[in-house]
Structures are given as structure tokens and as C-alpha cells.
């Protein structure tokens, strides 16, 4: 089959590799019909995530048709059309039972590698996201092996198009969880979203669905701010005005009741240069590593929530804890517990509350992946979200 392969830092290729096979009786095989490039894939491309190996298959946003199931798979059936959460969860451990699927105890075979990096604990496995997260082959390919087939894959109705449900795999639930973590009081609370990339777009629209009185989206790229504005958000271009003053003006001097940091830095223990790169790639907000988080803390209203879907991976320096303490802020963060949002967000899509395909700017063949990784990373051609067809 064809698959998008990590060939070393800065080198993404499309190669012919052996078809995947079932490795365990609880696995399923999926024929991928649509897959997307995530902002976090760009960090893999640039080699800032440790433990990648040449030949690793990339991709954690994918959907398709079930073509084979292992003998211990009870619910999933061949022929079903499914979206697959980007995180891999066993469904049986204590975190999974509590709905904390991204913190699964059992799905990461390389847990000790992650424990060595973080000191004590590790999250669950991820598709196509380094050996630190389990070394599972990704889904930017024609076929993919899906472990825990009765836990992750979510059957979608035939009536809806791939593009409407594909982002249930990651960025829609990620933005939604970020908004949900704010505990928005409908009709009253103002929510600010730093970063108007795909996750920021979904966070802003989710905040509106949850009843935010007003949503303010902050970025510097006009096309991203325009997309947010089309969704009903106020916008603030921090290159044109001072962020903190701008937010004060837009909130009667109180500051936003909740602030979502959809920027993050996703640096897993490497040098300052790599950290700065990570922020530049994902956030387009700053050359300073935690400027978005710092602004979030400084701007947030008293007793508000700083919600962080943006990924933090290393150690944070110069964080304004005094301001956070003085205002009594609440911090909510973490990888998305994707599994728990599949059903409710599918219902939102079916009800017409949202059509997630609004975020797509580029559609291409899998063969074009290397070029589009580049385009996406370099913000060329107003690129916000790329969807690939493995069979075109």
C-alpha cells in the first residue's frame, strides 16, 4: 500500500510499504477513505519530537471502512464506516472507566520511555506519533491497523460525507473539550481564543454552541481571523494592536471570563531553538515560547478559566503565577478524551449545529502529502487544513 513516511527530520515521503496485518485478536483493519494533516504532524516533520524512526508511518486523523476484524472483536463489523480517535485507549483501565481516555494506562507499550521523560507517568498511545507514544503506525495511508477495535472506532451513518465527520478524530473534539473545560455560563461569559488554527477555530465555534455571550479570536494571519469571523467571532490581530489593551476594551475592562490557549508548544524535552520553532509552527503568535499562555493568564478575568488544548511538552519558564494566583484562576488542560465526544458531537453535526468541513482549505491526493506538509508549515497559499484522499 501507499503511506506517508517519516524519512528523517524535514523529510516526508510517500512510499510503498507492506499492507498492515492484524497483530492481536482485538485489532481491526481499516481501508482509509480520508485522512488529514494535523498541526502537530508538523512537529514530527521538523524532527522536534524525539523517538521518531525512519520509516514510521504518519497520521492520526483518518477514517474509513472496516475490512477485517480479529476474533475477539465483538461489536465492530466488516463493512462498517468509522472514524477513529487519534488516541488509543483500552477502555478497561481506571482512567478509561472514568472517561479519561487519553490517559489510558495500558495502550502505550513504550510507557517507560515516556515515564523517563516526564518523571512518573505516561499517557496512552497515539496513532503515528513517535515511539514515545507507542510507535503505532499512522493512518495517512491506504490501510491502517486499529488496536482495541471495540473501543475506539465510531460508526458513522452513510448519509454524511467524510469531510463532515473526519475531524471527529481530533480537532473538533479537541476544540470542544477546550470550550467545555471553561464551564461557560450561557448568555453571560465572554471567551477569548488564542490561536486561530484548526483547533482554535473549533474552540471558538464550540464556545458559541455552549452559549458564550461573545467569543474573541486572536491571531495575526488575516485569512484565519476571517474564517473565525465568518463563524461569528470578534477578532483581534495582535500585530495591529496591543493584545491586553484590545481585550480590555472588548470586555469593559474585566477581561474575558475564560481564555483558551490553542497555541501550546508541544516541545518534548529539547532545546530552546526547537521550542521556539514549535511555537512558530503551531501558533504563528510569537517568537517567545509561552507568550500566548502568558497573555492568557494576564488577560483572563478574576476567577476565570485558562483552558489549554494547545500541547505543552516540556518545562515552562517565566510563567506569571503571581497574576494567576491573585485572580484565582482555574487551569484546565490535557490531551483530548476524544472517545467521549464522538457520540454527542456526531449528534451536533446531524442536527446541523455545525459543519466541520468549513475549516478545509486544501484537498489533495496522498501522493501530494510531502508538498502540502510544506505548504501547511510555511503558511503558504492561505493553508489552514489539508485533507488527503489515499485512493485518488
Amino acid at each position: 500500500m501507499k503511506g506517508v513516511v517519516w524519512q528523517g527530520a524535514g523529510r516526508i515521503g510517500v512510499e510503498t510499504v507492506p499492507d498492515p496485518e492484524l497483530l492481536l485478536p482485538t485489532d481491526a483493519l481499516i481501508r482509509v477513505t480520508s485522512t488529514a494533516i494535523c498541526g502537530s504532524d508538523l512537529h514530527l516533520m521538523d524532527g522536534v519530537i524525539p523517538s521518531m524512526e525512519r520509516g514510521d508511518l504518519l497520521g492520526h486523523e483518518f477514517m474509513g471502512e472496516v475490512i477485517e476484524v480479529g476474533r475477539d472483536v465483538k461489536k465492530l463489523r466488516v463493512g462498517q464506516r468509522v472514524v477513529v480517535p487519534f488516541n488509543i485507549a483500552c477502555g478497561l483501565c481506571d482512567p478509561c472507566r472514568r472517561g479519561l481516555f487519553s490517559a489510558c494506562d495500558n495502550s502505550n507499550p513504550n510507557h517507560r520511555m515516556a515515564e523517563a521523560l516526564y518523571g512518573a507517568v505516561s499517557g496512552g498511545g497515539l496513532f503515528g506519533y513517535s515511539h514515545l507514544y507507542g510507535g503505532y503506525a499512522g493512518g495517512q495511508a491506504q490501510y491502517v491497523r486499529v488496536p482495541f477495535a471495540d473501543v475506539g472506532p465510531f460508526v458513522v451513518p452513510d448519509g454524511v460525507k467524510d469531510e463532515q465527520v473526519l475531524f471527529l478524530t481530533d480537532i473538533f473534539p479537541t476544540g470542544y473539550q477546550a470550550a467545555e473545560n471553561c464551564g461557560i455560563t450561557p448568555g453571560r461569559d465572554v471567551v477569548a481564543v488564542f490561536g486561530a488554527g484548526p483547533v482554535g477555530q473549533f474552540a471558538a465555534r464550540s464556545a458559541m454552541m455552549l452559549g458564550a455571550a461573545r467569543v474573541i479570536v486572536i491571531d495575526r494571519l488575516p485569512e484565519r481571523l476571517e474564517m473565525a469571523a465568518r463563524g461569528g467571532a470578534d477578532t483581534l490581530n495582535y500585530e495591529l494592536e496591543d493584545v491586553l489593551i484590545g481585550l480590555q476594551e472588548r470586555t469593559g475592562g474585566r477581561g474575558p471570563d475564560h481564555v483558551i490557549d490553542a497555541v501550546g508548544l508541544e516541545a518534548h524535552g529539547h532545546g530552546p531553538g526547537a521550542l521556539a520553532d514549535t511555537v512558530k509552527q503551531r501558533a504563528r503568535l510569537t517568537f517567545d515560547r509561552i507568550t500566548a499562555l502568558r497573555w492568557a493568564i494576564q488577560s483572563c478575568a478574576k476567577g476565570g478559566t485558562v483552558s489549554m488544548p494547545g500541547v505543552y511538552g516540556g518545562l515552562v519558564d517565566k510563567m506569571p503565577m503571581g497574576a494567576a494566583f491573585a485572580k484565582g484562576l482555574v487551569f484546565r488542560m490535557g490531551q483530548t478524551h476524544t472517545h467521549r465526544y464522538l457520540d454527542p458531537l456526531m449528534k451536533r453535526i446531524e442536527a446541523g449545529d455545525i459543519d466541520p468541513s468549513f475549516v478545509i482549505t486544501h484537498r489533495a491526493r496522498l501522493d501530494d502529502a510531502p508538498r502540502l506538509y510544506q505548504t501547511f508549515r510555511d503558511k503558504q497559499d492561505h493553508c489552514i487544513k489539508v485533507v488527503l484522499d489515499p485512493w485518488a
Binding site: 500500500m1 503511506g3 513516511v5 524519512q7 515521503g13 512510499e15 510499504v17 507492506p18 499492507d19 498492515p20 496485518e21 497483530l23 492481536l24 485478536p25 482485538t26 524512526e53 525512519r54 520509516g55 514510521d56 508511518l57 483500552c90 478497561l92 483501565c93 481506571d94 494506562d105 495500558n106 495502550s107 502505550n108 507499550p109 510507557h111 517507560r112 515515564e115 498511545g125 507507542g134 510507535g135 503505532y136 503506525a137 491497523r145 488496536p147 482495541f148
Partner: protein
């Protein structure tokens, strides 16, 4: 002396464990015996003299002073900073101590029963090739070593159903060790807290343990993986893996 790598023999920090490890059957010297400390002291003096010589720049001088300081610490306290760095713990008898804990989402009697079935320990203990149960409380263990399999005999020294199992090796060839594992209910219906503790006299003494650690062949490093495999076997019935999957690396590894 505070914290660090030297804990009291038996290393009982958790008061819930009713009994400490059995007394060390061997009589290995502690890491820094008198003569050993004298050697470190002499080395420290030498390095210190070098540091105050005229031929070194400021950076070299700082480095030499730091090295001398480390050697002085070794000589004075008997503590080995290398052990701290490598997270090796040792008791007064010179044994390396291993402690690892995991919570398994099954009741204590089930987890105990899985462990008590000694012949199945190799399912989750990576270094064990096999265990043959002999008679009574005796068993014969075959362990994967860096230089081929090692065989020795062990005997149970405690067996409290649902709560605790302890064992020690029978004096003879092979790595001498003793250990115990305790099982107690986790609060809030979360299953069982499993605490495994081993003490062993490393072949080649403390230096051997340090080298094994660096080579990723020290039993303490394996214990964490072993307990996670136990947890996964008990909670899932299998051990998740990505080994053998497809990749662009050409040759496909064997199926697991």
C-alpha cells in the same frame, strides 16, 4: 545521612507493609568500606592539589574542584554519587534494592493467585525464562543473563493468601536475591495495590550494578515493565503491542 541511595536494610518506608524483607543471607560489604574510603580520600587530595596548580585555566580549575569535592563526599559519607544519578538504591549489607508499585484493576485474591502460580511468572517477568516448581516451597528458576541462562533454586519464605508472597534464593551458584510482593485493596474499588521489593547482591559488586544499569540490564529497570505487563494481563487478558506492524523500514519484524 539523608535520603539518597542508602536506605535501611529492608527499606521499609511504607508502614502498611507488615514485615520487612528477610535478613540478608549474604554478608557482602557495604559500598564504601574503610579501605575503600581511604582510597577515595587519597584521590580527592590528589585532585585538589592539581586544582590549585598554576597550569590550569579557570574552567579546568572549577571542574577539578568539583571532582575533588565529589571524591571528598564519597570518602566522608560512603555515598556514591553515581548511584544517586543512576537511581540505584542500596542497603547497609551492600545489596541493591528494587521497589516498584502498580495498581491492578482486579481484586487482591486474583492478583495474588496469578503471582502465586510461579510457573507462569515468566509470562510477565522479562528476565525469567522459566520456573519449575519442585517440591513444597522449592522452585528452580532459569534467568536470562547477559552471558546466557542462569539457573538457581529458590524457596518461599512467606505465603499469605491474598496478601503477601516472599522468597529467597537457596545459597548456591547464580545471583543471590530475596524478595517479596504484597497485595492490598486499593481505595475506591480500584483493585489491588501491588508492591514488589527485591534485594540482590549484584555480580561484580556495586560497580557491576552500575554498569548493568547503564546497559539497561539491571533488574530494577525491568521490574517496572514486569509490573505493567502483569497489570495488562490482568486487566485486558493480553499485552498491547506495536511490534511486527508495517513500516517503511523494508524488512518486517516477526509477529508477536
Amino acid at each position: 545521612m539523608t535520603g539518597g541511595n542508602r536506605v535501611r536494610a529492608g527499606g521499609v518506608e511504607a508502614p502498611q507493609v507488615r514485615s520487612s524483607l528477610p535478613p540478608n543471607p549474604l554478608n557482602r560489604p557495604a559500598i564504601s568500606s574503610g579501605p575503600e574510603r581511604a582510597v577515595w580520600g587519597a584521590l580527592a587530595a590528589g585532585v585538589g592539589t592539581l586544582a590549585f596548580g598554576r597550569r590550569h585555566g579557570p574552567l579546568a580549575r572549577v571542574a577539578l574542584l568539583a571532582l575533588g569535592g565529589g571524591l571528598v563526599t564519597l570518602a566522608a559519607t560512603g555515598r556514591n554519587p553515581l548511584y544517586d544519578a543512576l537511581k540505584l538504591r542500596q542497603n547497609d549489607a551492600g545489596e541493591i534494592l528494587v521497589r516498584e508499585a502498580v495498581t491492578v484493576g482486579r481484586p487482591p485474591h486474583e492478583v495474588y493467585a496469578r503471582w502465586r502460580d510461579l510457573s507462569r511468572l515468566p509470562d510477565f517477568m522479562e528476565m525469567l525464562e522459566r520456573i519449575e516448581v519442585l517440591h513444597g516451597t522449592r522452585s528452580r528458576w532459569t534467568v536470562r543473563g547477559p552471558a546466557g541462562p542462569l539457573t538457581f533454586e529458590a524457596e518461599l519464605t512467606a505465603d499469605e493468601p491474598g496478601q503477601r508472597i516472599a522468597w529467597r534464593t537457596v545459597p548456591g551458584p547464580g545471583v543471590q536475591h530475596h524478595g517479596e510482593v504484597t497485595f492490598r485493596p486499593a481505595p475506591g474499588d480500584r483493585g489491588t495495590e501491588v508492591l514488589a521489593r527485591y534485594g540482590y547482591a549484584p555480580p561484580g559488586g556495586p560497580a557491576g550494578a552500575a554498569i548493568a544499569r547503564i546497559l539497561n540490564h539491571e533488574p530494577g529497570q525491568r521490574t517496572r515493565d514486569d509490573l505493567m505487563r502483569l497489570k495488562r494481563i490482568m486487566e485486558l487478558g493480553f499485552i498491547p503491542t506495536a511490534k511486527g506492524q508495517t513500516s517503511g523500514r523494508g524488512v518486517r519484524a516477526g509477529k508477536v
